[in-house]
């Protein structure tokens, strides 16, 4: 199959294929069934697979995520949808204290083949309580993996890989990506789920990002190119583990590091990226790395301020221009 698809459609297809192939896969979450999913990701599956395998839940995040953990312990492959990542704060005990720790605490007796999907990020005027980013929190948890696809192709394959994996995987979907389009080609051999990908080759600086902001970085790179600044853009695709080799290789020829994240800057995901690469490539770096990140404020409702609170294309360009390039 080779077709243009929306990001949500790619996810929908991945779920459909996984459920068709493996009866141990089931979905649960608020309004995933009869209603078809807030962002349409589970559309059609309730009618096709029935209410037991596509289960509408009450508003009980900690418990239905924990339900997924319990079911995974006995060999099911639950895909839990937390309607949006904002409600994941209520389910962190299930994710951190159960899913991530049981395999270890049990001395390896149990695996947790669980996927927890969460739409998230700053969307459009959803205000402070509905604009949570949680990358940093989840990255710090040993025992989890985190996938952050930015394209329909990755959305499809990484979700299939996540469902096949025996480890608990957090699957972060950006709310503003659902209606982006791209080619879904199921014949292309997918990269391993945790491998980063160079989305644009360049020689002057390395821009590292993930999820929706990869698209903004690519736009920025095109404009920078017109100014003679040739940026390499890396899409991490996975925040845990991070494919450091791909990043370090890039720095070997660019010598400049720019990290772009939507997370609040202070102790955000970018801090680990910068620190690790500084530790590893200190003498490769010509200048101090730069972060372009979310502001350290709760997200304002006002549309202009909301936009100002997270990196825009212009911010990325401005940051890239702060490096001194050899002329």
């Amino acid at each position: 199959m080779r077709e243009e698809k929306n990001y949500w459609q790619a996810l929908n297809l991945a779920l459909d294929m996984a459920m068709a192939e493996d009866s141990s896969v089931f979905i649960l979450g608020e309004d995933v069934g009869l209603y078809g999913g807030t962002y349409r990701v589970t559309e059609g599956l309730y009618a096709k697979y029935g209410e037991e395998r596509v289960r509408d839940t009450p508003i009980s995040e900690n418990s239905f995520t924990g339900l997924g953990v319990g079911a995974a312990m006995v060999g099911m492959r639950p895909v839990v949808e937390i309607m949006t990542i904002n409600f994941a704060l209520l389910a962190l005990d299930a994710i951190i204290n159960m899913a991530a720790k049981i395999p270890f605490m049990s001395g390896g007796q149990y695996t947790i083949p669980l996927v927890v999907r969460m739409p998230g990020g700053v969307a459009k005027q959803l205000a402070a309580q509905h604009s949570q980013r949680l990358e940093h929190t989840l990255m710090n948890v040993p025992g989890l993996r985190i996938a952050v696809p930015s394209t329909p192709q990755d959305a499809y394959w990484q979700l299939r890989q996540a469902i096949n994996s025996n480890d608990p995987i957090i699957f972060l979907e950006h709310e503003l990506l659902y209606f982006t389009k791209g080619i879904l080609d199921s014949s292309i051999e997918p990269l391993p789920i945790h491998r980063a990908q160079v989305r644009r080759k360049g020689k002057h600086l390395t821009i590292i990002s993930y999820s929706r902001h990869v698209l903004l970085c690519l736009q920025a790179a095109e404009q920078l190119a017109k100014q003679g600044i040739d940026a390499e853009v890396i899409d991490l695709r996975s925040l845990k583990p991070i494919d450091w080799d791909t990043c370090a290789q890039s720095l070997q020829h660019t010598h400049r590091l720019l990290v772009v994240e939507e997370d609040c800057q202070f102790a955000g995901s970018g801090a680990e990226i910068v620190t690790h690469l500084t530790e590893r490539c200190f003498f490769e770096l010509d200048e101090a790395p730069i972060r372009v990140a979310g502001r350290d404020i709760p997200t304002p409702f006002n549309a202009q301020l909301e936009a100002a609170s997270i990196p825009q294309v212009a911010d990325i360009i401005a940051a890239a221009q702060r490096f001194r390039y050899p002329s």
Binding site: L34, I59, F87, A127, Q129, H130, D296, N302, A303
Partner: protein, 350 residues
Amino acid sequence: MEREQIHKMLRDMLRARAFEERAAEEYSKGNFTGFLHLYPGEEAVAVGVIHAAEPSDYIVTTYREHVHALVRGTPSKAIMAELFGRRDGVCKGMGGSMHLFDAERRFMGGYAIVGETYPIAIGVGYAVMLRKLPEAVICFFGDGAVNQGTFHESLNMAALWRLPVLFVCENNHYQIGTEIHRHSAVTDVYKRAAAYNIPAEKINGMDVLTVNRTTQRLLKQIRSGGGPYLLELETYRFRGHSMADPGTYRPAVEVHSFTTQDPISIAAHEIELNYPTTDQIAEVGPDCITLLTQHAQEKGQLIEQELALMKDDIAKEIDAAVDFALQSPQPTLEECLDDFNINQRTEILI
């Protein structure tokens, strides 16, 4: 009930409906975006309950709270400006539709994470208890919110410590697209209060007079140390869950009759796709505004002219609110960083 009181309530219900329908219109025009949860159909709840509250009582609400603020006395223009995200909004454009706060009126906020109203309410109640004041806290929540763990935790503490909280369930039978029989093993919410020894009752949330009378009695009891109480109000929302939701999961037959959905007989394909407007529903179903209007007219407490005048006043008020919102400036990033962001405020770092 007094004529004057009936007029006040009717006026507030009409204002509420007009405000919400206009908010929908402004949203559709693109004057703001985000999640917009509207209240048409449920007006008798907010109006009946809040008209029973003293200015010294506190109110804690959810994201579906424009009407609660309006009835509490927050000027319509300050609410509309907040929906527009403007500087003259009641929260200076920082909160928006789901987060109206009005400290002056003890309006403790709209919370958008389902189940947050309980802990806030018992916290305010705890303060009242410590201060030994004759004040009550009104805590609103939906039928879907009953299954959040905080309901259980907070009601237990409210009962243990006899906190002055009136828990008000706005039971509109739906948690977005999930009908109550599909989200709750016990669908009479008031019965669940027994697990905490909290007295409770269910009444018709479409009848504003009963809602108001009952609430008055309960608040009096609570203010004088009677401990917490749970009041379940049966109601129905005429629109979808939010502007993003056409509400198509509700069969037309239900929408027209407000009966609860029979989970067995409803299959996805039976769902009626042409979702009616607020007016269409109000015409066929039991509508709280129609009910009160008829009642008042029958008792001779309302004449046609008065009603027309009211509607006229309201239309002008709402127009003015929109004008005000449109003319209000955008808040600036500096204001936002300096005034509201504690990480920038170092002076208190004693």
